[in-house]
Symmetry: C2
Subunit: 243 residues, 2 copies
């Protein structure tokens, strides 16, 4: 069978990986991925053929993986976090129409929302939205609309890609939209380099988050109207103690 | 140190668990959980002290775990999926104020949104909302408001707890709200018993979902305006092929 596994490494690889993910990498003849993600597993899988492609070459990376699988090799394409959340799973399915004999299997991983939430406490205990602030492929107007809708309906909000060199003020802009509905005292938090060397975390208010300096490897959490800070942890009650 | 691990088993336990989750269960003297979740790991951890409490006894379960940890035992409380997403992590933090010497650590797991998405294809590739249809602890008006906001801003929507004995028509009601904004042709899917014996999945339209029979162990996915069915898989393009 011609097989392509699309494998989630979780936030940092290693101990964050599931047994299914490890088994797929062990089974693979070739492991394909963005350089930074291959680096997370390079040591443990040094005995495998490891192929990397740079950032922004997503189409080429998926086509390479599909073509290799079609040639008869068992291929694992690795993604940080979960390949099904802003990862490569969708693109692989879209491109796979050209390689109909390759069977695709997505192996989920811990996405940054779940990994970062665990570092901060328990901010995602109630209904929440994931929104990417990257406007590379989504019009900024759509992102604004989603931020506004999330704030109006009192969702907890988790922001991916909150910043980049070209978008230094996007987190500030996003906070300004959320502040139209949410109090500046709303408890928030962020985690950088989740599960990797240099992991860092902060708990702060939405007013403070507005001017926080975060990079593209940071995941941001904005509480709902019930979210609290308890002993330094960000916690959204679900209501067990109130019923 | 007095330690309580709050551990995510992923959807089905076993191969879905991360290395960190397995290490915590191995380290624990006692493993505590809802009967159904303990059953997922009973065989592998038969050498441990296993304590179960029934459904709806969430406060008692967390208090038992905290008190045991305070007595000097290393305790792991297990949750299906991710303890940080509609799980026990928040309640443990809330209750832990009574046991200030116990150190809590949340170990994330694959939540049903990510596990189910992988079964269906790649529906969560773009901004999405998680909404629980259980009104045990959330007013139905709040749930309705969130469904409407999610539809208006064209989020992919993932529904937890879509049905129960007392709420047989909640999925239908939710679909009716989503249909105010979304086309009845919107591609949708659902997965029951993710990662467990009897796993089942379906891809269908929002119009068909409205009358689908699902149970409380089912996770439901409603696409955004770009979501497609490709070779039987539910796929939300992120835009790599359009830029």
């Amino acid at each position: 069978m011609r097989k392509l596994y699309i494998v989630g490494l979780g936030p940092g690889g290693g101990q964050d990986m599931t047994g299914r993910a490890k088994a797929a990498l062990e089974e693979a003849d070739v492991i394909v991925g963005y350089t930074v993600y291959i680096d997370l597993i390079r040591e443990e899988y040094a005995h495998k053929e490891l192929l990397t492609t740079p950032m922004r070459k997503e189409v080429e990376r998926c086509e390479m993986a599909l073509a290799l699988a079609d040639s008869g090799k068992t291929v694992a394409m690795v993604c940080s976090g979960d390949p099904g959340v802003y990862g490569m799973a969708g693109l692989c399915y879209e491109l796979s129409e050209k390689w109909p004999e390759v069977a695709l299997e997505v192996i989920p991983g811990i996405t940054a929302a779940c990994g970062g939430a665990a570092v901060l406490g328990a901010p995602l205990m109630h209904d929440f939205c994931l929104i990417s602030l990257s406007d590379l492929m989504t019009p900024w107007e759509t992102i604004q609309k989603r931020l506004r809708a999330a704030a109006q309906a009192d969702f907890v909000v988790c922001l991916y890609n909150p910043s980049s060199h070209k978008r230094k003020d996007y987190l500030q802009k996003a906070c300004d939209i959320l502040l139209e509905e949410k109090s500046p005292a709303t408890p928030c938090g962020y985690v950088g380099q989740i599960g990797r060397d240099g992991e860092s975390a902060a708990v702060l208010t939405l007013g403070e988050l507005r001017t926080a300096q975060v990079d593209m490897f940071t995941t941001v959490f904005v509480g709902n109207s019930q979210t609290k800070i308890l002993g330094g942890r960000l916690v959204t009650p679900r209501g067990y103690l109130q019923r």
